[in-house]
């Protein structure tokens, strides 16, 4: 295993092999191994001055190295770019203390081919390095494509969710979004309030001035309600001229009275549409849920309807805050009206 013929066999089978003499000098390097030191010749240099042995830790001298025969070695090039290599060392049986070290880039194959400008011809025909590079590149391309698809789908999902939660005419939340908010608040421990609002005289606007005027009024109403509430409150349009406001974190009913009064006052300001003045008002039924109470959703909405009904019954353009005694009034009135009919 000393003649040039033997080396040429190994050059084909293991182009990244290195032959080391007993003194620890590199006496031969395969064609790809030679590229690792660039312009500086590898042959003639001391193996441990070119490569540092990181694992096993105990290898510090040539004597240690000789004893590591057959084990997997983790090497690192001492010169930049400090390429990490895997290696295995085999002492030659009758080679006067000579050893062969076969090198591989292992996991740093991508950096290796780039840093040393390697080509297909630098790897043995049986080496899986090229397939590995192919796979990395193909998988990366496929993954990039998948990521682009995911981003598009995510964008479409957000847009669809927004659309599903929004009333198209006014941009307010819709009933679906309202239910989401209420479900969260009902389950929580924070005081909150629900205002059920019916516009008064809106039908007259629609009937006399037309749907365009009606739409304009609804959009104005939406803007006013949004302005008279805080960002953390939810304003929803839940029917033609029916709105629900959920006020988060309400500490007292005096706040509710003020907010309700302001909304009614502003809605009563005439709304101008193409030279015509539209006049409406609003009736409000409000339920205040104090902290520690977790009402059932249907009871909550029913209480709000009872309070709203009381406002309508008392002459409209006002707010009623729910009280259980209102139930007696509602009972008497609904006995007179057609059963199940919503208060007009």
């Amino acid at each position: 295993m000393t003649g040039p013929g033997d080396a040429s066999v190994l050059d084909v089978l293991c182009p990244m092999h290195i032959v080391i003499s007993e003194t620890g000098h590199i006496t031969h390097a395969g064609p790809t191994a030679r590229k690792l030191t660039g312009d500086r010749p590898m042959v003639g240099a001391r193996f441990l001055e070119v490569f540092a042995v990181n694992r096993p830790r105990a290898v510090a001298s040539m004597e240690d190295l000789k004893r590591s025969g057959g084990a997997k070695l983790h090497l690192e090039m001492r010169a930049a770019p400090h390429t990490a290599l895997k290696a295995v060392l085999v002492p030659l049986p009758d080679g006067d203390g000579k050893m062969i070290v076969n090198l591989s880039f292992g996991i740093s194959i991508v950096d290796g081919v780039r840093d040393y400008a390697l080509s297909n011809a630098d790897f043995a025909a049986t080496d899986l390095a090229i397939e590995m590079l192919y796979l990395i590149e193909a998988k990366t391309a496929a993954m990039d494509e998948s990521r682009r698809l995911n981003l598009r789908l995510q964008g479409a999902k957000v847009a669809a969710e927004q659309k599903a939660d929004t009333d198209m005419l006014t941009g307010l939340a819709n009933r679906r979004a309202l239910n989401t908010v209420l479900t969260r608040l009902v389950a929580g421990q924070v005081p909150f309030a629900v205002m059920q609002i019916d516009l008064d005289y809106f039908k007259a606007v629609n009937d006399t001035l037309g749907h365009a005027a009606g739409d304009h009024v609804l959009q104005t109403v939406a803007r006013i309600m949004a302005e008279e509430t805080r960002k953390k409150d939810t304003v929803a349009r839940v029917g033609g001229d029916e709105f629900t406001i959920v006020l988060a974190d309400v500490r007292g009913d005096d706040i509710l009275r003020r907010v309700g009064r302001r909304i009614i006052n502003r809605l009563e300001e005439p709304i101008s549409f193409k030279g015509q003045l539209c006049r409406i008002s609003a009736s409000i039924g409000t339920v205040w849920i104090q902290s520690g109470i977790s009402p059932a959703m249907h009871e909550l909405m029913d209480d709000a309807d009872v309070a709203l009904y009381a406002s309508k019954h008392a002459g409209r353009a006002r707010q009623t805050i729910y009280d259980p005694s209102l139930r007696d009034l509602a009972g008497k009135v609904s006995a007179r009206d057609a059963p199940g009919q919503h208060p007009a």
């Binding site: 796979l135 193909a138 391309a141």
Partner: protein, 195 residues
């Protein structure tokens, strides 16, 4: 058919004929959407409908268009990834030809649900080969002709390519390698990555 193939056809149509022709194809083929997603899978019938629509609208034969498409996916700079992945197949054009049998398996290695038609290279003499293509897509041999022509250019080889027959889903392409090192090929650096 995999979205990668459908999307590539769409890109080819947009790049070669313009977005307005793609819109015509969408209408003509009766697609329920206006763009293929590369990472989804579609009914084979949609691919056929798109190819038929393109042939009708451009008044060109399907074989002619598929050959053009084959060249496009290799040679167009936007498809650099395809060229690079094909170049991994061999160090020379001849070496590459011998890797064609593995092409469907290689594709599946990257994208498990990407099924390419089976192709088989048969040596018939000195530098002469037959490529046997088994595919439901009529004109697939023409597509391979476009791919191989562009790859021969890429390697700098001179090869004569000619479809020599189509019988019941099996199409044959004859390949004559005239000059392996006819011209300087395009560089292929292992360490470079398609952007």
């Amino acid at each position: 058919m995999h979205g990668l193939i459908n999307r590539s056809i769409q890109n080819y149509i947009c790049a070669s004929f313009g977005a307005h022709i793609w819109e015509d194809v969408v209408r003509h083929a009766g697609l329920a959407f206006n763009s293929f997603e590369a990472m989804l899978t579609y009914e084979d019938s949609l691919t056929h409908a798109v190819l038929d629509a393109l042939a009708d609208i451009t008044r060109r034969s399907r074989g002619d268009l598929l050959e053009d498409f084959g060249t496009f996916i290799v040679a167009d700079p936007k498809f650099e990834a395809v060229r690079r992945l094909l170049r991994f197949g061999g160090v020379s054009f001849e070496d590459f030809l011998h890797s064609l049998d593995d092409l469907p398996d290689r594709a599946r290695l990257a994208v498990p649900d990407l099924h390419l038609p089976q192709i088989e290279l048969r040596a018939v003499g000195d530098g002469r080969y037959s490529l046997i293509c088994k595919s439901d897509v009529a004109g697939f041999a023409h597509l391979m002709m476009g791919v191989l022509r562009a790859m021969a250019d890429d390697y700098g080889a001179l090869a004569l390519l000619e479809p020599t027959g189509a019988v019941q889903g099996v199409e044959t392409l004859s390949i004559s390698l005239i000059e392996p090192d006819y011209a300087e090929g395009r560089a292929f650096e292992l360490g470079a990555r398609a952007g």
